[in-house]
């Protein structure tokens, strides 16, 4: 036997969760730093960073959604709240992008206007779904008692 037998219990399990959380955070910060450095310091084109951006987005949102779902108690927004959040998010993103890049060419709509208006809708939709599923899961657990 090359290693001694390793025991697991509630303490080591909790410590493992904390360690994983800390290093996931560090990894996210480093990955965001690499993307920022390559995009804005080295001036590399956006297309060359698609793999980094995809991994970063999946990891970041996957982590957040899973944690929120398992944690359970998220405020579930009303439909009116969703509309207000959507208009605010899309408005802020559009205003910031217009201020930085100016008005985009009409032919570039799929890489400018589409993500500006579709992105917040997808994010809010995923959030509401996760919040609803999380709350439903906990209520079901309680009802089973």
């Amino acid at each position: 036997m090359l290693f001694e037998k390793t025991e697991r219990d509630e303490r080591t399990f909790a410590a493992g969760g904390r360690v994983a959380g800390i290093w996931l955070g560090v990894t996210h910060i480093l990955l965001a730093g690499v993307i920022f450095y390559r995009l804005y310091i080295l001036g590399q084109p956006d297309e060359e960073l698609r793999d980094f951006q995809t991994v970063f987005a999946i990891s970041l949102f996957g982590h957040m959604l899973t944690q929120l779902f398992l944690g359970g108690l998220l405020p579930v927004p009303t439909w009116r709240g969703m509309v207000v959040c959507y208009l605010t998010l899309a408005g802020v993103i559009a205003a910031v992008c217009l201020a930085i890049y100016g008005v985009p060419e009409a032919s570039q709509w799929h890489s400018t206007w589409l993500p500006t208006f579709l992105g917040p809708a997808i994010l809010l939709g995923l959030y509401r779904l996760t919040a609803w599923l999380g709350r439903r899961r906990i209520e079901k657990l309680i009802a089973e008692q």
Partner: protein
């Protein structure tokens, strides 16, 4: 939640039975280090583990664990 410090008489109960930390750890299915940290007041066990320790040592839960300064 207020951060409560938990005190215990686990070491006394264990030594009274002539058990080592490893023996008690085996009985409640945790690591020896976890028992050591509970005895040193460096780890707050779950209610499940508290009950397992109380059962293993034949003590009541209140006799084994209490909030620091309340006894």
């Amino acid at each position: 939640m207020k951060d409560l410090e938990i005190a215990s008489s686990l070491k006394l109960a264990r030594v009274a039975r002539g058990w080592s930390q490893a023996e008690l750890a085996d009985r409640v299915d945790v690591t020896r280090q976890t028992i050591g940290l509970i005895e040193a007041g460096r780890y707050n066990p779950s209610i499940k583990l508290c009950l397992a320790l109380a059962r293993a040592t034949g003590q009541g839960l209140d006799d084994l664990f209490w909030i620091q300064g309340e006894r």
